[in-house]
Amino acid sequence: MAEHSWLTDFPAMDRSDLVAIRKTLDGAYRNFSREYGDMIEGFFDPLLSFLIWFEKLLLASPWWAVLLVITALVYLATRSALMSGATVIAFLLIGYFGMWDNTMRTMSIILVCTLVSIGVGIPIGIAMARSDRVQAIMTPILDIMQTMPAFVYLIPVVMLLGIGKIPGVIAVVIYAIPPVIRLTNLGIRLVDKEVMEAATAYGASAFQRLYQVQLPLALPTIMAGINQTIMMSLAMVVIASMIGVKGLGQPVLKSITNQYFTMGLLNGLAIVVLAIIFDRVSQAYAKRTQKHLGDNSHV
């Protein structure tokens, strides 16, 4: 060290110290995962069984039955024959090009990830809206979740739970949950102050204010968050496939390593089609629940 001046070289930590830090942290985490890994896995068991059951349901049912149910759901949500027709054609093409099974697997994992994100994200968003302190703590955490490269948090998850569906779900949820949290918080904070005052003035309790005023009025914003969450979880399926999540991501991964351009393109397009259907359906549904907003079109 003596021959180097701190003016020309950054006074970095000694290499051996860095190695020591790494060894300590890695060791501690490895011990932790050996100790508690099974317990945490047990905690996620119900989720895993639901995921497997749902995937089997989609795969075992005849394709026309699944298509019928999907089309019915799309029609119920959008009330649009055009959208329903487009959905049927898109799924027929997907099946014709041999991607039906993988599409079903991807759909089941996206559905589970979205449900987990909503179930965890909305309560966190409500807590953030109710307390400035919670918001101050959560905001940087959300920033980290959105910007930290997915591979980095895949490492501890895989160390803890191994390769499989649950680590995949966790990775997708970590990446996709911030929009629903942020927009729930924002939506509740934007509720008109005078409407809240009116509810309080008529004697509404905190619970009544939340369920009768804040959540309904924040719903359009929350729905936008859910929509973003669905889009982001679809974007994660390729990365999730690296840790053993089956679905449309795996053929894409195979295409990258083997330079199969057409296979990659087809599976990529299938993901895009799923994304567009999810997006349009969830937006149309959100819009229909907000009939009180009236017709805002201008000429």
């Binding site: 005052e197 009116a198 309080t200 003035a201 008529y202 309790s205 005023v213 009939k291």
Partner: protein
């Protein structure tokens, strides 16, 4: 007689990080500006003392920033005071725990807001029924009640519309119906009509006056519009920079403004519309209780006037002029007073608005009699008194 519903005493509100810590400085008499400059705290309300009687319309008036909206939010504790007590029917609402405070808000008070405060995601009917929904009244009952109140405010047929589909005036009617629907005795109205255009505003004022005649609620009404205050208020309190500068009946405020601030305020008011005959009239200068023309003439001479008002045990009879009496006395001084001798003028009612009696007053040479509903002579109104009140700027 006096039956106070709300009593506020020694109420202070300081906005800032540590309001309690600066209270000693406020008590020491530091001004609002000094307090803000030295401690960064805003003095919202300063030593407010109010008593509001049952069944009256109490108007709190002030310009923007005077603290009137802050004050009204203390009545149902949407804002908590820094110091002072708020008693409603003898209960200090500062002592209420959360659950009881909610019960208190549900049953004792309801509120109408400046920008209506309606819930955009609920239909008009659901909005009106909201107070009852919070009280967990069953659906059929609350919807029936809401329908009845909507009809009262003239909005039948709009039940299934959403607030955004209504005009401002209609939305505020919904706000009013919502407030009335809970049957709360006290009505807080925070600049309820300020966002409406003048025509609709005066329509709503009429409607409120009409409703109040039937319902006899205790209404606390906030406004920045003095004409509105004078029209609606049984009593008016004027707020300036968080301090009460004057409290009194509309006539007291108009005729005896306590400070130059109030004076400047009332200067531009159309007094002809704001004052009633009662507040301007003088005591009757000459009551004539005689039965014959001769006696009447003698009594009139004692008052040193050219006119008099004949009264007997049945009350007011008519106006007598010296000239007419003298002419009549030439023929028959012992003749009885009768309708032929009385002047052909109609008496004024004490409740009439000054504006409506100006033509009559100006046309006649003598002061007109003011007679109550029961037929008693209450006073006289001369064109001189009318001119004085309307023409003269307020004296210090």
């Amino acid at each position: 007689m006096s039956d106070p519903v709300i009593e506020i005493s020694g109420l202070y509100k300081v906005f800032g990080n540590t309001p309690k810590a600066v209270m000693p400085q406020v008590h020491a008499g530091k001004t609002k500006d000094d307090l803000l400059a030295e401690t960064g705290h805003t003095l919202g309300l300063k030593d407010i003392n109010l008593t509001i009687e049952r069944g009256e319309v109490f108007v709190i008036m002030g310009l923007s920033g005077s603290g009137k909206s802050t004050l009204i939010r203390h009545f149902n504790r949407l804002i908590d005071p820094t110091e002072g007590s708020i008693q409603v029917e003898g209960v200090d609402i500062m002592d209420l725990p959360q659950k009881q405070l909610e019960q208190f808000r549900r049953h004792k008070m309801s509120m109408v807001f400046q920008r209506f405060g309606l819930m955009p995601h609920r239909s008009v009917l659901e909005n009106v029924a909201y107070g009852l929904r919070v009280q967990k009244v069953d659906k059929a009952t609350r919807q029936q009640k809401a329908k009845d109140w909507l009809a009262t405010v003239g909005l039948s047929g709009y039940e299934d519309q959403y607030p955004s589909q209504l005009s401002g005036g209609q939305q505020q009617r919904v706000g009013l119906a919502r407030a009335l629907c809970t049957d709360a005795e006290i009505l807080l109205m925070d600049e309820a009509f300020s966002a409406l255009d003048p025509l609709i505003r005066s329509e709503m004022q009429d409607q409120l006056i009409e409703l109040q005649e039937k319902l006899h609620k205790t209404i606390i009404f906030i406004t920045h519009d003095l004409d509105e205050a004078l029209r609606l208020g049984d009593r008016i309190a004027i707020l300036k920079d968080g301090e009460l500068v004057q409290q009194g009946t509309p006539a007291e405020i108009l005729l005896n403004p306590a400070t130059p601030y109030v004076e400047a305020f009332v200067k531009d008011v159309n007094r002809a519309r704001a004052l009633t005959v009662e507040t301007v009239m003088k005591p009757a200068s000459c009551r004539i209780s005689a039965e014959t023309i001769g006696e009447a003439l003698a009594q009139m001479k004692r008052c040193n006037g050219a006119f008099g008002y004949a009264v007997n045990k049945n009350g007011y009879q008519g106006v007598l002029l010296k000239e007419t009496l003298e002419d009549a006395a030439k023929d028959k001084p012992e003749g009885a007073l009768n309708a032929d001798i009385y002047e052909d003028v109609s008496a004024l009612s004490p409740d009439s608005v000054l504006e409506t009696v100006i033509p009559d007053t100006i046309e006649t040479d003598f002061p007109l009699p003011v007679v109550t509903k029961d037929g008693d002579l209450q006073g006289q109104l001369s064109r001189a008194s009318v001119a004085e009140v309307l023409g003269n700027p307020v004296k210090n």
